[in-house]
C-alpha cells in the first residue's frame, strides 16, 4: 500500500527529499509533465491546456526534530520542527539523518524525579536524543548538526479498517493525489506536493504563484477529537464519519459556493461527510486563497486521531471516501459547477 510506504518515509519540513523521490518513482508514468521548484515542491501535470486549471494540493512534509548540538557525553540536543506536544516526545524511538541513525528521546527516569517533576511535562529544552555512543566525537561521526529526526514507526493495520502510524498528516492527502493522477478529468489537473506546510504554509504560496490556477483543492489530514474527555461540540471531526470540509480556520474562510458544491457533490454520490468543528490552525489554502488576485480554494481532510504524534490513527473508509469526494468535486468542477472568474 502506497499510503503505508509514504507514512514510513522520512520527510520533516525542509527535508522532504525521501518523500519526493518516492512520489516521483510512483507517479511519473501517469503525468504529462513533472517538475520541481527551488523550495522543493513537486508538480505533476495532466490535461495540459484544458480549462479550468485546477491545482490539487497535499503537503508532503511532516513534523519532526532537528539536531542542534552535542553534549560531551555524546547525547544530542534537538529542537522541534513544526508543532509537537512535548508530552508525546519522551521515550520515542527516532531515526536521524540520511543514514537513519536510530536513537531514543531520553529523559530522567521516574525513580530519579522529584515529586513535582513527575506532575509536569518535560520541556523540549530538557530532552535529548540518545544514539548509544559514549562521546561527542563518536556522535559527530554518525550525526551532523542540522540533521533531521523523525519518529521511527512502521504503519500497521488495526481494528475496523484503521491504520496506525506516523505522518498521516499529510501522507494521507499525498496518497489521495497519487490515486487521482491515475485517473482522467476534463480539466487541467496539477497535482502539487508542497513542502514546509508545518512551519508556515511556505511551499504552497510559491506553488500557487507559479501555477496561478483557477481553483485549488487542498487535501489534508485534520484532528479527530472524538475521544475521552471531549464533548461532542469539541470533537473537531469524528473518525469514521467521512471526509471533513473546513468552513473556517485561522487562515481561511470557505466561500459559500465551495460549501454548497462540496455538500451537493457528497449528497449526489451518497458519500458521508462532516464539517470540521474547529476554527483555528491553518492549511495551505490560507496562503493559496490570497495569492495573485485571490484563488478560489477548498480544504477537504481525512480525520486523524492523535495527529502530530508517532501513533496516529486514520480510518481507511474515511480515506476512501475522501478520495471519492475529491474525485466527485473535480468532476463537478469540470462540468462547470463553480462560478469562476473569466468563465462567467
Amino acid at each position: 500500500m502506497l499510503l503505508k510506504r509514504l507514512s514510513e518515509a522520512s520527510g520533516t519540513s525542509g527535508d522532504e527529499a525521501e518523500v519526493r523521490t518516492l512520489l516521483k518513482e510512483e507517479l511519473t508514468l501517469y503525468a504529462e509533465e513533472v517538475a520541481t521548484d527551488t523550495l522543493g515542491n513537486l508538480y505533476f501535470k495532466k490535461g495540459i491546456g484544458r480549462k479550468p486549471r485546477v491545482m490539487v494540493v497535499a503537503h508532503m512534509d511532516e513534523v519532526g526534530l532537528m539536531v542542534v548540538g552535542y553534549e560531551k557525553s555524546g547525547l544530542l540536543r534537538v529542537v522541534k520542527v513544526g508543532s509537537i506536544d512535548d508530552r508525546v516526545l519522551v521515550s520515542k524511538v527516532v531515526a536521524i539523518g540520511k543514514g537513519r541513525v536510530p536513537g531514543v528521546i531520553g529523559a530522567k527516569a521516574v525513580h530519579l524525579q522529584k515529586p513535582n517533576e513527575r506532575t509536569k511535562a518535560i520541556n523540549i529544552n530538557n530532552l535529548y536524543i540518545d544514539i548509544g555512543v559514549r562521546s561527542q566525537e563518536e556522535a559527530e561521526k554518525l550525526v551532523k548538526v542540522g540533521d533531521y529526526g523523525t519518529f521511527a514507526v512502521t504503519a500497521r493495520e488495526a481494528g475496523d479498517n484503521c491504520l496506525i502510524g506516523k505522518a498521516f498528516d499529510n501522507r494521507a492527502g499525498c496518497a489521495i493525489l497519487a490515486e487521482l493522477l491515475k485517473e482522467d478529468f476534463d480539466l487541467e489537473l496539477n497535482a502539487v506536493f508542497t513542502v514546509q506546510e508545518e512551519v508556515g504554509l511556505r511551499g504552497a504560496g510559491v506553488a500557487a504563484y507559479s501555477l496561478h490556477p483557477d481553483v485549488a483543492l487542498v487535501i489534508e489530514a485534520t484532528a479527530a477529537a472524538d475521544v475521552v474527555g471531549s464533548k461532542e461540540a469539541a470533537h473537531v471531526t469524528k473518525l469514521g464519519d467521512g471526509p471533513a470540509l473546513t468552513l473556517m480556520d485561522s487562515t481561511y474562510i470557505a466561500p459559500q459556493q465551495i460549501v454548497d458544491l462540496v455538500a451537493k457533490t457528497a449528497e449526489k454520490l451518497a458519500i458521508p461527510y462532516q464539517y470540521r468543528r474547529l476554527t483555528t490552525a491553518g492549511t495551505d489554502a490560507g496562503i493559496i486563497s490570497q495569492t495573485h488576485t485571490g484563488i478560489l480554494s477548498a480544504v477537504i481532510s481525512v480525520p486523524c486521531r492523535y495527529i502530530h504524534s508517532p501513533a496516529s490513527i486514520i480510518n481507511l473508509d474515511d480515506w476512501q471516501n475522501t478520495l471519492r469526494l475529491v474525485r466527485g468535486i473535480l468532476n463537478s468542477i469540470a462540468e462547470g459547477g463553480l462560478c469562476l472568474e473569466g468563465t462567467a
Binding site: A234, I253, Y275, R277, L278, S289, Q290, T293, I295
Partner: protein, 338 residues
C-alpha cells in the same frame, strides 16, 4: 448620510459572507462610476476614470460574526468567533443569519462570570431538536448581531459601524465627486476582520500608486477609557500608526494640510492595537505608500457602536478634497528621492 448609514449598518455581511452588503453598496454607487465588479474573495471594485495617478481607496465592508460549528440534539447551536468577539458582550444578544433566522445567546451554568469563554455560550433559535434547527441553520452558517441603527443626539449607534461608517463615507464621496483628475479605485473589501485578506488581493490586482483606507478607530473620551487622544465629534482622524502600518509620513502631512486649507476639523490617531487594510496595502508588490482616514467610534465590536454625524460629514469632505485634486506622485516621494 443618516439613512445611508442606517441601511448599511443593518445589512448582513460578516467576513467571508459579504454578498448582501456588496449588493446594497453596488446599488448605491453603480450610477456614479465607470466600472464595477467583484472578485473571488468577494471584494467590490468601483472605478472612476480620470487619468492621472491610480489611487485605491479601501473601506472594508465585512463585520464580525459567529460561525456555527455544531448543532446538538436539542437544537442548540455552538459557535466560534469570526473576527474578535468578547464573550461578555455576547451574553443575551439577539443574532441573525443570512436567511433572516434569528436567535439569542445563552450561557451554560457558570460559577464565576469572569471565567466566561465562547465555548460556554450557545445560540438558541427556538428549535426543538437537531432536525428542527437544521430547517433554519446549517453548520458553517454565520450570524451577526441583530440591531437596529438609531440616531441619538447628533450621533448614530448600532452594529457594524465598524466599518459601515467607513463604507458610508466612501459611498458618499463617490456619489458627490463630480470629476477627478486621478484614476480612483474604490474597493469595498472583504475579510478585513480576520486578517486584511480582501485588501491584500485587491491591491495586488489594482497595483495602485497610492492606497488610502477608510476605517473606524477607537476613542479615549469615555469614562475610565484607555488613554487615547481621539474623541467623538472632533473630526475624522489622520492615522499616524497602528499595529499593522506606519502611515506614509508625506501622506499624513498632505491630509492634514488639506484639512486645514478646507477648514475641516481633524485629529491625529495613534492606535496601539489593531490594524486596518492599509497594513496589507503598503506591503503589496514593491511597496505602496498608504495612509488612513478614520471615523472615531465608541464601543467597537459591540452592537452599540456609536459614531458622530459631523465626523462622518467631515470625513467625506476630506476624502473628496483628497480625491479631486490631481495627485502628483513626486509630492509623495521627495523625502526618499533626494
Amino acid at each position: 448620510m443618516k439613512e445611508l448609514l442606517k441601511k448599511l449598518s443593518e445589512t448582513y455581511g460578516p467576513s467571508g459572507r459579504e454578498e448582501q452588503i456588496a449588493l446594497v453598496i453596488r446599488e448605491e454607487i453603480k450610477n456614479y462610476v465607470d466600472e464595477i465588479y467583484t472578485d473571488n474573495m468577494g471584494n467590490l471594485y468601483a472605478v472612476k476614470k480620470g487619468g492621472g495617478a491610480k489611487i485605491m481607496v479601501a473601506a472594508h465592508m465585512d463585520e464580525i460574526g459567529m460561525i456555527v460549528t455544531h448543532i446538538d440534539n436539542k437544537g442548540f447551536l455552538r459557535f466560534s468567533n469570526v473576527g474578535s468577539l468578547s464573550p461578555h458582550v455576547l451574553l443575551g444578544q439577539r443574532v441573525v443569519f443570512a436567511n433572516g433566522s434569528q436567535g439569542t445567546i445563552g450561557m451554560e451554568k457558570l460559577e464565576e462570570l469572569n471565567k466566561l469563554t465562547l465555548d460556554k455560550l450557545y445560540i438558541d433559535i427556538g428549535a426543538t431538536s437537531k432536525e428542527d434547527a437544521r430547517k433554519y441553520v446549517k453548520v458553517g452558517d454565520i450570524a451577526t448581531y441583530s440591531r437596529e441603527a438609531i440616531v441619538v443626539g447628533n450621533r448614530i449607534m448600532g452594529k457594524a459601524m465598524d466599518n459601515r461608517a467607513g463604507c458610508a463615507v466612501l459611498v458618499k464621496a463617490i456619489q458627490e465627486l463630480a470629476k477627478t483628475d486621478n484614476e480612483v479605485y474604490a474597493v469595498f473589501t472583504s475579510q478585513e476582520e480576520v486578517g486584511l485578506r480582501g485588501s491584500r488581493i485587491s491591491t495586488y490586482r489594482i497595483n495602485p500608486d497610492l492606497g488610502l483606507a477608510i476605517d473606524i478607530t477607537m476613542v479615549g473620551d469615555t469614562p475610565e477609557a484607555p488613554i487615547m487622544d481621539v474623541s467623538l465629534g472632533k473630526g475624522p482622524t489622520v492615522k499616524i500608526k497602528d499595529a499593522s502600518v506606519i502611515c506614509h509620513p508625506r501622506l499624513k502631512e498632505m491630509l492634514s494640510e488639506l484639512a486645514e486649507k478646507n477648514e475641516i476639523p481633524y485629529q491625529y490617531e495613534v492606535l496601539t492595537a489593531g490594524g486596518t487594510d492599509a497594513g496589507a496595502i503598503h506591503l503589496t508588490k514593491e511597496g505602496i505608500p498608504a495612509g488612513v482616514i478614520s471615523v472615531p467610534c465608541r464601543y467597537v465590536h459591540t452592537p452599540g457602536e456609536m459614531v458622530d454625524l459631523d465626523d462622518l460629514e467631515h470625513a467625506v469632505k476630506l476624502l473628496k478634497a483628497f480625491l479631486s485634486a490631481p495627485l502628483e506622485m513626486r509630492e509623495i516621494f521627495p523625502c526618499y528621492l533626494e
